[in-house]
Amino acid sequence: MNAEVAAATAAPEKKEFWRWQENTWFDETKNWKDAKIITCGIDVGSVSSQAVLVCDGELYGYNSMRTGNNSPDSAKNALQGIMDKIGMKLEDINYVVGTGYGRVNVPFAHKAITEIACHARGANYMGGNQVRTILDMGGQDCKAIHCDEKGKVTNFLMNDKCAAGTGRGMEVISDLMQIPIAELGPRSFDVETEPEAVSSICVVFAKSEALGLLKAGYTKNMVIAAYCQAMAERVVSLLERIGVEEGFFITGGIAKNPGVVKRIERLLGIKQVETKIDSQIAGALGAALFGYTLMQKQAAK
């Protein structure tokens, strides 16, 4: 078979437009070996897994990656990703807390804490003690949380019955539009007039509507804008159930999508608290901070 025939008959390369950027970071100005207490939070979510290291109560490093087909391996891989970069071993970590959908399947965790408590604690660290209302837009669920100035949950609501208003929904639209997921947010503003939202109740219906809009002559950017608006309306209705206070903070992958974030801000009439820390690590960071508090309590006994 000559090269031309081989090229013509080969299966087309499948592009994964939904694939978001996995990343690893650690604070190069510090040395973890100087820390007295090292704690780790592992957030095994339905779509992404994060491992966060906290040295003496301060964020030191993290690894964020896609969740595999089994929770224990996802937890191990997430932690190994950051430990390999900094030359750390599991024995060097004093306490590990598991959280997220797969929290009970983190084999080396000393304790499991729900992602609701961990996101509130993480948001309190990332956004400061002014944070009161938290929206976690996860891979396959969405949570609205109220917390006090210490990051303790006072009210929460979770919707995990359908994928509308979740990261997975955005991945579906990314693949449908054949546009990389990171470009969806900026492109949603590149429209002359803001279109009506598509269905905010179900991703399957939203996808059908999106296809219908394309056939009706909508540009891709208009369809993306309609979907971002639907997602914003969906989560705002959840937030309104528990009430929205100033000190609004968004965690989870969708916090990186300005198309959704700006529309939520517009609907609520308030701005979110800004942070430089990756919004996806809030749960794991909160878990690591819980671990640090538990270690301090143990030491005080």
């Binding site: 006072t154 009210n155 929460f156 979770m158 019955k161 109740i201």
Partner: protein, 94 residues
């Protein structure tokens, strides 16, 4: 803490709210556990080490159907769970 268990779908919003601060020293002797015909409530230790009631995970996605029998159409004038919970910790959104 107000814990809301349930969902919103195309047919409406279905949430059971539990004020867990009222659960900690339950004045009704955990009556919710036996009052619910579907045994949807359970006592757990929450993230802040308090023993509180919650709605079992497997029940939270079908409240509209599971609770239907206790609504007026099912012959009840008041919900067994909210009636049994004399501290008033349990509320239905619908």
């Amino acid at each position: 803490m107000i814990a809301n268990y349930g969902y919103k779908d195309g047919s409406g919003e279905y949430y059971i709210s539990i004020d867990t601060d009222k659960c900690i020293d339950c004045a009704a002797d955990r009556a919710c556990l036996t009052a619910c015909p579907k045994h949807m409530f359970e006592i757990i230790t929450d993230d802040y080490d308090d023993e509180v009631a919650w709605v079992k995970k497997e029940c939270t996605r079908a409240l509209a159907y599971d609770c239907a029998g206790c609504k007026p159409a099912g012959g009840y004038t008041s919900l067994p769970c909210t009636t049994a919970c004399t501290p008033g910790a349990i509320k239905h959104s619908w």
